[in-house]
Symmetry: C2
Subunit: 337 residues, 2 copies
DNA sequence: TTGAAAGCGCTAACAG
DNA sequence: CTGTTAGCGCTTTCAA
């Protein structure tokens, strides 16, 4: 298939230089279109590259360029999970914005474990990324030390409820919880239950709940009941949780879910149990996922700017100085609450 | 906070060696726990590392180790999208299996564009990964050439309907389509419609449909109607597509959807329109997503081994010789068809 | 416009 | 067990 005798080792820049009959530095200049070179040199190099199927070695390139500030073009990203759409969405906004800038993200998944996050940060930093994107504001002391010492820009995404290391891009989960509670209160619901997934991992869900309860307290009331399910959120978990909740406290007139997946499960349960929504019981979610608005009764929820957070985080990489960007959220007045 | 004067530049292995009062190679040996060194050397190095906050530079390490076969510990991955749960699930299986092996995946998103995939492959290969994981079997000639020339193991995930470059891990989308059709036929449905998202991008959906139609043809029948929606799949798209389909052909007795998200939208439409499922009309999806079994009527669908594909792909990285692993799929007899 | 040469930070022989 | 030394493949002065 190939017309030339491939060398046992991979083709190097030196091979290209020899093939093109020019010096190595000339090849380097041509390849990066940096510095000046003759048209003829450019052509010969291009030909040689094509002929040999040369693929630059960025390990070497970045190492050599490191001394003079030429970056690796890498950005290290740590997200807690891939099982919750929120984070792929975040990555989607990020990679979309990075696309064409020549930057490449390297992502690690912490599974909501701060220790693992620290290990990932250390591993990512060893590739000398130009920036570090973390999720949330809660990290181990080691993570913070590593991040600071690395000298690279650090962007913490999603959560703005607290102090950041450097730049923070997100929204207030606490405020989202408060807004949700106020909405339910304004609609007249008073016997409100909470149905959530395991909060020990998802600190942001806890912050929402805290905000929710604070708003209830402000109004002189409180959560009538709560059901916390082990494991990650899902429609199945939401369904089971709702059923448990309503069995224990049939008098509830509204349920606040830890997110839309859980709420969908709750809605499924209402359908099965023949509970009219929202007349008999109201449902409220969080995230504003795709399916929410396609439901026969659009789900009442809070839409979060997930893609935008990713995009803005990407924009911050080149930005100057620490920033604190609150992108807010949108309360969706659906038909379930 | 830090107790020592940080150098302007990042701490290097040479700094650690000086601080520990040993040679550089000793530090290297200690750090990688490779070769032998005295207990005392180990301790002194560990102290120095901690004191200086040393983070190894893997660019340099991998470059130096390259000549002797020490790899980068990187695996390049290209997926078509992050917007469809399928691919994050794939990554989840993959990173889960890679976790603890010291391997780190670097992923690129092609947005279902073969040209972009080629560019990503070239970019990823420039980091000298130890393996390349691609999605599907359809690539540009350039991608194939690059992959072959790189000399690294190539694993193509998800689709087994065709020839692979090297190793293939997945299931037959065509067979999944066939199985779905046979299920509907066996249940007595004869006026079957198809509701799908844009197939120009998602070739695997097209393969499923081809299998589906082939099975219908075998039974001497054919698709009664089809509705193809532009853009990516979603419940909203499925709902709109189903409504268009049923308006055009009210006589349909079953609808095959390009995936579960679309099918969920169809089910929502049935609820809104008051069409009894499956008595008046049956619905059939694809993927076997979480929510499918939590529905009041569990969705009839085909469950795909997404996580397992990722895991097996990871396992193949160390495997020997090309392989062709068909993980199959499971037809879920839900209550909608 | 170009090539020669000196590293980038690390690993891996090779002597000691 | 340990230090010295020679690169890994590339970028970047610096002269020419």
């Amino acid at each position: 298939m190939t017309e030339f005798q491939p060398p046992g080792r991979l083709v190097t820049l030196a091979d290209v230089a020899r093939e093109a009959g020019v010096g190595e530095s000339t090849v380097s200049r041509v390849l990066r279109n940096h510095g000046s070179y003759s048209k003829r040199a450019g052509e010969r190099v291009a030909e040689a590259v094509a002929r040999l199927g040369y693929v630059p070695n960025r390990l070497a390139g970045s190492l050599a360029g490191a001394s003079t500030g030429t970056g690796t073009g890498l950005v290290g990203v740590v997200i807690p999970s891939l099982a919750n759409v929120v984070f792929p969405d975040l990555l989607r906004g990020l990679t979309g914005a990075l696309d064409g800038t020549g930057m490449q993200s390297v992502v690690g998944v912490s599974e909501y474990d701060a220790e693992r996050e620290e290990a990932l940060v250390a591993a990512l930093l060893s590739w000398r990324p130009e920036a570090l994107l973390l999720t949330g504001l809660e990290h181990t002391a080691g993570t913070v030390t590593l991040a600071r010492a690395s000298g690279v820009r650090v962007v913490e995404m999603i959560d703005t409820d607290g102090e950041g290391i450097d730049t923070v891009v997100g929204f207030s989960n606490r405020a989202a919880g408060q807004a949700s509670a106020r909405h339910l209160l304004a609609r007249g619901y008073r016997r409100i239950g909470y149905c959530g997934h395991d909060p020990s991992a998802d600190l942001r869900a806890s912050k929402r709940l805290a905000g929710f309860e604070a708003a209830l307290a402000e109004a002189g009331t409180a959560l009538a009941e709560r059901e916390i399910r082990p494991g990650r959120s899902s429609a199945a978990s939401g369904r089971a949780g709702f059923e448990a909740l309503i069995a224990r406290r049939p008098g509830l007139d509204a349920v606040y879910f830890s997110n839309d997946d859980m709420a969908l499960g709750g809605w499924f349960a209402c359908l099965s149990l023949g509970l009219a929504v929202p007349e008999r019981i109201a449902l409220f979610g969080f995230n504003g996922l795709d399916f929410a608005e396609a439901m026969p009764q659009p789900l009442s929820t809070v839409r979060t700017p997930r893609l935008e957070i990713g995009r803005r985080a990407a924009a911050c990489l080149t930005g100057t100085g620490p920033a604190r960007i609150d992108l807010g959220f949108t309360l969706i007045e659906g038909a379930t609450a």
